[in-house]
Amino acid sequence: MQQIRNWFIIAASFLSYISLAQKYTIKGYIKDARNGEDLIGATFYVPSLKTGATTNEYGFFSLTLPKGTYQVEISYIGYQTLTQTIELYKDITQNFEINEDIASLQEVEIIGESLPEENVKSVEMSANKVGISTIKKMPALLGEVDVIRSITLLPGVTTAGEGAGGFNVRGGGIDQNLVLLDEAPVYNSSRLLGFFSVFNPDAVKDVKLYKGAIPAQYGGRVASVLDVRLKEGNMKRFEMNGGIGLLFSRLSLEAPFVKDRSSFLIAGRRSYADVLAKPFVGDNPVVTGLFFYDLTAKANYVIGMRDRIYVSGYFGEDVFNPGIKFVTGNATGTFRWNHVFSNRLFMNMTTFFSQYNYRFEVERGGTEGFKWRADITNYSGKAEFGWFLNAQNTVTFGAQAIHYTFNSGETQVLSAGEIRPGGLPKKYALENALYVANEQTVNQKISLQYGIRYSWYDYYGDGTIQTYNDTTPGLRRTLINQTQVPKNQSIKQYMNWEPRLGIKYQLNEQTSLKLGYNRTAQYIHLLSNTVAASPLDIYTSSNNNVKPQIADQLAVGYFRNLKNNLYEFSIETYYKYMQNQLDFINGANLFLNSQIDGEVLQGIGRAYGLELYLKKNAGKFTGWTSITLARTERKINGINRNEWYPTRFDKVFTQNLTMSYEISKQVSISGNFVFFTGVPGTYFTNRYIIQGVLIGHDPNESRNNARITPYHRLDLSVALDGKNNDKHRWKSQWVFSLYNVYGRRNPFSITTATDTRTVSEYTFIERNQIALAAQQATATRLSIFAFIIPGITYNFKF
């Protein structure tokens, strides 16, 4: 702590020295003129000084300049650049509104659509920002636009396969991504078992993925940050958006409470296969018991020039009830307060709640039943300050505390009329962080982003300290001692310094070189022993047996824009070293196990790769292509003879292509093409039979010893817009999509098992006689979307 304070004092006195000349500050918000939405990452640029500022996550900017009259340019990707004259002879506060649409622009001079140059100019690397309008253009499975499916087309982002749930970034596991919805973490971003995500596209404003060089304000996961921000709600007028699709329908309403001061947004989705199927299948619960719904809501209020508050929340559930009821549900809630202390100091206070719960219930006749429920619950408070020192330095500092409650499974058994509670005790932890970072423009060529995050984690009681023997790696460790710890007493603490660094060296207007380094620590772990993550996987805390995961990543990149930012191109290479990666003993039992630490193995991981990315930003034809060469491996005592082995999501070569072509004002076509090397799997080499049951065996104990065939897929879609003239507010669009156009049977996995279809009659006549008869083992390829899948969606807007 002392160190941080000293560092701060030095930095502050140095920076105040630079700013002694007579200077004034302009601050304000940059907004979309149509609906008053704040724009994140919009640029306020002063060409004469070659300096500028970008808006933060709340659309706020502040820039301090010598007094004078300036021509300034306000720009944002996909928006018309606004040029205006600013007379800066005192501190001023001014909001700017910019337009997507040429027709409604007045008074101001138009210099054309802004094209992004941040990828070259900004110090940021290994980050991708995807506009929701871009996501909406891509061909989607069953015509349902999805944020997470879309980001898997970015370089460095993969999944273990279709329907696998979650995503993998640069060789990290799915629990190593911090997925934020208005700053609240989402523990399971998958809906309908991984085919869709929790984010309602009509409510999403901005999606940003950090794959490396993660800024100091983010922490708690080792691989990536997916920062999803919701729209505030239209500040100008009532707006309605919606869509009717094959699988589900969406509706969102937004409107000002008080024009330009306060607004709300409410958006919902529900699937209706259960309702539609009823006339055909009757009351068959297998079909009619399946549905999902979710609700996203947000409201905000501008209290004055200095204050603004936001409330937002998400609630959704997947329900499957064919007599046995499964429910998985997410809920988040965020309250935020923005306060502008002075011309240069911006504050955001956030408190949030987040819960992921999963339940399983079966009941019969009131006398027999089983109930199971698990959840992870967070409460958090966070204060973050943006200190816009001068045109060269923007300091961010803050503190966060997150409280965790882990409920790894509580059960209720009802047997022959007797009811008994049971399960595992709840566990508690507190994760705290302090951070400070500075974004510094050293000169025209060099910019820096540096910071440090100090995190500490306290796993506390009531709970038990379990001690295990540690004799043979790979075998279940047995409990040798157990001590009860009283309430609120610390059981185990961990602390980590997490340095973050970014350097940009500008070679010329169109070219730059960048370097990024980050160390990240992760204190919670997903216990998943299946090839695809299941919604029933359980999160667990670091404790005296399970150590926090730590990752160090170094990335280097070359960034070049061509033809006046029409094209952007980048090459990035990275190396990541990971400590305390989790795997499990053979045949691990992760369900309702009070001695689960004995099933966990920890070891090291490494991932490295090369990512090429080419994007065309504007024109009738837009899109991007990326090529990724990557490896991701683990080395864990007790697995694969203690040697390195590739992870289940190790894809050596991946190529993604996504493009969109605007044929006319009304018609556009889009396509995706995906190709990647087959993922590895584990296969038995030998067999034997015990009591008539065929058992696979590998005397060499290899993990992921063979690869399945490559995956490739083409998707196409056509969007037909209704006649959009300004007289009619009702705007409609038909989207026709084809997923897996040539119907390739891509393997999700190839598994081997006893082929029960070959057994028509029980031939077990005398014990042990059949034991020696031939049993069929077959290798089976599972394809999730084995055929062409059409989709039709009708979207509307009012």
């Binding site: 080499t685 098992a753 029960t756």
Partner: protein
């Protein structure tokens, strides 16, 4: 649990997903001795132990049998030894006299096998079993529920013994034939299938319903939903006590044999309790278990039905 979930997944993707048989090219590993030794302490029985060798995984041929071995079980509690003799190829047999048995509940046993110049040993114990007789088993006529068709189903009344750490293996005979598919292997820990470190608060109840209902699968070749029986069928149910090591073994065998789809676990070798007395000698696979058995049966007749609703 996972299995139920798999059913849900299958449903969601049944329209679009498909499974094809494919060829895999995997280089086989070295062949090993396989010892299949599951004996009971039931009096007057013929106990059989088989010895074979592992073969390449996808070659669907009969296993090669291992002849000329010396196979012996020692009851370590009583000190008595039982020498098994090779009665037919690869099968080593011990025929007990009508009132004679390998031992009684609580006895510890050692298996010793000398074959191909190596000596293998394994240990087991005959654990307790709950009481079970023909009155414990009954037939119900049930309506359609849980996606199962209406019809005649068998249920039974067995209460777990008090105290945690009881492991059972349950198997059914349908008209005298043993159901022996991997899906039919029901391993129970106290009252549920949920493995280790069971909550003592839930101990000592009757086995929970979904487990009891697994006896309702006259044929289990197409996904193993419960199916009704018909009048005239005979159903015999056996409950065998097993050790916690054998519980792990059978749980993992079952997981492995039904390990397909999205929620498959990475395949891994199942454990063995067969040890070579020479730590540097050739390793064997297989399992040695000594069980106590209880058995009950019912023949479905019109008059013994219990009608539900």
């Amino acid at each position: 649990m996972k299995r139920y979930f798999y059913v849900l997944l299958l449903f969601l993707i049944w329209i679009t997903a498909c499974e094809d048989k494919v060829d895999l090219n995997i280089k086989p590993g070295e062949s090993q001795i396989v010892i299949d030794a599951w004996v009971t302490i039931e009096p007057g029985t013929k106990q059989v132990i088989t010895l074979s060798r592992t073969t390449p995984y996808l070659e669907n041929n009969p296993l090669p049998l291992v002849r000329g071995a010396f196979v012996q079980i020692t009851n370590q509690t009583s000190g008595r030894t039982f020498n098994f003799s090779e009665s037919y190829s690869g099968a080593y047999v011990y025929q007990l006299n009508p009132n004679d048995s390998l031992g009684s509940i609580g006895d510890r046993f050692m298996l010793s096998v000398q074959v191909e110049g190596e000596t293998y040993q394994a240990f087991s114990q005959a654990n307790r079993v709950p009481s079970f007789n023909d009155d414990s088993i009954f037939v119900e006529s049930r309506p359609q529920e849980f996606g199962n068709p209406p019809g005649l189903f068998v249920d039974f009344n067995v209460r777990d013994l008090p105290g945690i750490g009881d492991f059972y293996f349950m198997r059914t005979y349908y008209n005298g034939k043993l159901r022996a598919l991997p899906q039919d292997l029901i391993v129970i820990s106290d009252i549920t299938i949920f493995g280790r470190n069971f909550d003592p608060r839930q101990d000592g109840l009757p086995f929970i319903f979904p487990i009891r209902s697994t006896v309702n699968r006259p044929l289990c070749t197409d996904g193993c939903n419960d199916r009704p029986y018909k009048v005239g069928d005979t159903i015999t149910l056996e409950i065998l006590s097993i050790t916690s090591e054998a519980f792990d073994f059978w749980t993992q065998v079952q997981t492995q044999a039904t390990n397909v789809g999205l929620l498959a676990s990475p395949p891994s070798n199942v454990p063995t309790n067969i040890q070579n007395v020479n730590p540097n000698g050739k390793k064997a696979v297989g399992f040695f278990t000594v069980s106590a058995v209880v058995r009950a049966g019912v023949r479905i007749k019109e008059e013994n039905l219990i009608i539900i609703r």
